[in-house]
Amino acid sequence: MGDEIAVIRCRNLTRKFGSKTVLNNVSFEVSQGIIGLLGPNGAGKSTLIKLILGLDIPTSGDISLFGKTKVELGKIGFMPEAKAIIPSMKGFEFVAFAGELEGLKRKDALRRSHEILDCLSMGEARFRKLGEYSTGMIQKVKLAQALVHDPDLLILDEPTAGLDPPARNQMLDYLSYFARQQGKSIVLSTHLLGDVQAVCDQVVVLNFGVCLASCSLEKLVGNKADSYLIEVAGNQIDAIVALGERCVGSQDMGGFTKVFVQCDSSLGINNIASKILAAGGVIKKFVPLEGNLDDVFFALLDKQRLVAN
């Protein structure tokens, strides 16, 4: 991260509801760019978003945005997953209403509303009532209301949910535009790994409230030069344990395990193979990793399950 101020920094963040721990000692920091927040249902993504927005208080640990522990909601634009619209309002009125809630004067809110809706190619549709909008248009209006006050950080919860492929690509293009051209930081919470791979620079992976990974996307999925997929049979668990930190993730395939490994100059391919064999594992396949986020994501979840067992 260097001297650059982290957009979001979480330190030992824990949130408990009674005896249930929803977030467990989560620590990560992310810098400017598009950050993919990944995790299956119940991973703790929504709780983390509420904590970032200051709508909930952590049981322990702390969270800071742009180096400040006090949440400044005016600096954040939030697009919820739920429809969260007022069907009787027209598109531009709703966006202006969001602007007024953000502290803009009525006149400025209306001007900004039209600017953003222009930018999102909403055309004359902005003058129709939200109740008549398609899912794609609702998602655009929700994005527009998050942007109306020109925030530094956008938190988008499932922005491409329910969109057809062209609309989804268009939405991802908008996100890239706002991040690359306008310098916004975007947290993209989604189940769609393809979306993350398409636009994100950094990834935070959560499962059962634990942070499994937080790094750049490139580092997570690896590249052909130093990341490998190994199919291990025999004594699989001991082989994974023997690999230690080199094992980025694993996926139980029933009878054998897919192991994702990152090498560097200090631990070459031969050494990795030796460690697996010494631990009683049998190597069925040893191929360079294709850089697929799906494989790595499921591997991370499986590794967590294996270690827990």
């Binding site: 509801f17 929504s46 509420k50 927005l53 709508l55 909930d56 400044e72 909601l73 005016g74 954040i76 939030f78 919820p80 997953e81 739920a82 429809k83 969260a84 619209i85 007022i86 009787s88 309002m89 009125e93 209403f97 969001a98 007024e100 809630l101 953000e102 502290g103 009525r106 919860d157």
Partner: protein, 309 residues
């Protein structure tokens, strides 16, 4: 100062958006319309039969002559006893007084049977909850609360702004409904409306505060509000003894009782409505409204939106 500014902004934007956007198409609204039409139909039918008076009033136990027959008999008696000038004169005077009473009896009969029983005991709570529960309840069901909370305005401003936006609808609906019933009843109804619109308006504001609180703080608030309206206002409100003091309707009845007493009309003997002066009853109702408003602001500020995204 910053808080005050965002508070005013929050109230203003809620008012601007919701003042002209009450939801009128939902189920409870049509139930309210249905009951208004039903009761208005009964009132019209009674009016057509010219029965808003003591004409059919009978002694306790429903035996013997009714009020009108008694007057006719006394009139007949004055003719039969024409040879006795003194007795005949007394009979004529009693018959004239009775006829006068019959003409003037519409007001107490309408007030007792429609305003005291049906309107205050059932219709008014139902009409008020129709709009008041929907106020923030609809935001909760529509999942816009989470979105609203992500805006930098105090929750108290959302609560008060929305309450102020809902209030005119509650007043228009309850006073409008009362006016429709009054028109259907004819002169006696219009006289009752002129005399009682203020306590009905005050009761409406109090109900609005109670039901708005329920809508803001409880899921499935419509059911809770209906249960409250039926158990507290309809059942407890019509019970003998001091239990009825738990209902809002009791204090509205106290004011009406005092107003009628000033005209020399005693609406209900032994109901305990004379125990509270008009000022005391007004203070009680305003106190209840204020109590629920403050409680609502407090609990609304503490709401945890678990499960909302």
């Amino acid at each position: 100062m910053e808080f005050l500014k965002s508070f005013i902004q929050g109230v203003k934007s809620q008012l601007a958006v919701h003042l002209f956007r009450a939801r009128v198409g939902h189920g409870l609204f049509w139930v309210s319309v249905g009951f208004l039409m039903l009761v208005a139909g009964v009132v019209v039918s009674v009016n057509l039969k010219n029965q808003w008076n003591y004409k059919t009033l009978k002694p306790r136990g429903q035996v013997g002559l009714n009020f009108k027959n008694s007057i006719e008999m006394i009139e007949a008696g004055s003719l039969v006893l024409g040879h006795n000038a003194g007795v005949s004169a007394v009979c004529s005077a009693v018959a004239s007084a009775g006829s006068g009473l019959l003409v003037q009896s519409g007001f107490p009969v309408f007030t007792k049977n429609v305003v005291f029983s049906v309107l205050l005991g059932f219709l008014l709570p139902l009409w008020c909850l129709t709009f008041a529960v929907e106020g923030l309840g609809a935001e909760r069901e529509g999942k816009t609360l989470f979105w609203l909370f992500s805006k930098p305005v105090p929750r108290s401003s959302i609560y008060i702004g929305k309450f102020l936006a809902v209030l005119p609808w509650v007043l228009i609906w309850s006073l409008g409904g009362f006016f429709v019933l009054a028109v259907c009843a004819g002169d006696c109804g219009l006289f009752a409306f002129k005399l009682f619109w203020q306590p009905i308006a005050l009761a409406s504001v109090t109900y609005a505060s109670v039901f708005f609180f329920m809508g803001a703080c409880f899921p499935r608030a419509s059911l809770i509000a209906l249960a409250y309206a039926f158990v507290v206002e309809t059942l407890l409100g019509s019970m003998p003894g001091s239990l009825k003091q738990l209902s809002v309707a009791f204090y509205a009845r106290c004011i009406m009782f005092q107003k009628s007493a000033e005209l020399g009309v005693v609406l209900e003997q032994g109901g305990g409505y004379g125990d509270f002066s008009e000022t005391m009853a007004i203070c009680f109702m305003m106190g209840i409204a204020l109590l629920f408003l403050v409680a609502g602001i407090f609990f609304f500020g503490k709401i945890e939106l678990r499960g909302q995204r």
